[in-house]
């Protein structure tokens, strides 16, 4: 296919529709090989208390050497205040105004807090951030975030790290239909390449995942699998699937069928 078909994130054209996390890999070497194998152009990172200067710098050097675009997150924040402060610290360290805004509302399922998310999003957008909110698959929440100025929304497929896939495809489809001009990325909960493919097939612009690759038996091979799945899903969406039918219809022509009606 020669036509340019890029993912758009706040005006930037990105070729890969797979965004990848940098956590939970068995080793730094497997992480870097997995990032490369995925074909991703965007990697998520975070900030934590400086423990060993050398260890932190080693990780940062590895990430910088990949040349990938950085998407910092506010993972672990439970209040608007924490998320705002961490977002500002990320902007300075990573030199980007992109922020994956995570604001946890429940520690059991790590569900985003929709009310705090709206409040924090407004403050950050007013401060010049380009917010990529990790949100639930609630249409009204997505609309509100969109109205605040979010050009990208990232509803969950399932709770973080569960690998359950798209638990509520009806909700996700509805968001896609109601927000046709917004960049939509399924973030979290995917476990299999088929889950990613399904998200792209239904018109989602991309997927963001980490555990599904890092937690696989062979993360590097799983990276390749997700890369292929995302491409397949996007091709399928562009190709437009055949209409589903309730009754069987033969695909091989019946005209000229030998032995036809001979019994």
């Amino acid at each position: 296919m020669q036509t340019k078909d890029c993912l758009t994130i706040y005006g930037e054209q990105i070729k890969s529709r797979l965004l990848i996390g940098s956590a939970l890999y068995p080793s730094p070497d497997i992480m870097t090989q997995s990032l490369t194998a995925s074909g991703a152009e965007i990697v998520t990172v975070s900030l934590r208390r400086q423990q060993s200067a050398a260890a932190g710098d080693d990780f940062w050097q590895l990430i910088k050497n990949t040349g990938l675009k950085i998407l910092p997150n506010t993972a672990g924040c439970h209040s608007v205040k924490e998320a705002i402060t961490l977002a500002k610290m990320c902007r300075e360290v990573f030199a980007t105004d992109w922020i994956k805004l995570e604001l946890i509302g429940d520690d059991y399922n790590l569900q985003p807090d929709p009310f705090a998310l709206l409040e924090a999003t407004k403050i950050l957008i007013d401060d010049g951030f380009k917010v990529l909110p990790y949100c639930t698959d609630d249409l009204v929440l997505c609309r509100r975030l969109n109205e605040l100025g979010c050009e990208v929304l990232m509803p969950w497929g399932a709770p973080i790290g569960t690998g359950k896939g798209l638990l509520n495809s009806y909700n996700l489809k509805t968001i896609r239909e109601r927000l046709p001009n917004t960049t939509l990325i399924v973030d979290a909960g995917l476990g299999l390449p088929s889950h990613a493919c399904q998200a792209l097939e239904m018109g989602y612009d991309a997927v963001l995942l980490n555990s599904a690759i890092a937690g696989a038996g062979c993360p590097i091979t799983m990276s390749r699998a997700f890369k292929a799945a995302v491409e397949a899903g996007r091709f399928a969406y562009k190709a437009k699937a055949m209409p589903e039918k309730e009754v069987a219809a033969p695909s091989t022509p019946t005209m000229g069928m030998p032995f036809w009606h001979q019994q």
Binding site: S22, A23, L47, G56, N73, A75, V93
Partner: protein, 64 residues
Amino acid sequence: MNITINGELLNVNSKALVEVLQSFGAAAPFAVAINSEFIPQSQHGNYVLNEGDSVELLSPIQGG
């Protein structure tokens, strides 16, 4: 003067943020928040710490 850095209680001789960070062994890249407020790097040079301040010194780490 007593302050905390990354949750660790410390007795420091200087009130200058930059000197305290240096003596703590802060290594770039990092960002600083004091009492939960982000302090941009441009303000580090003039920032004076107070008794009981809580300093957060954060650096890049893996994230999903």
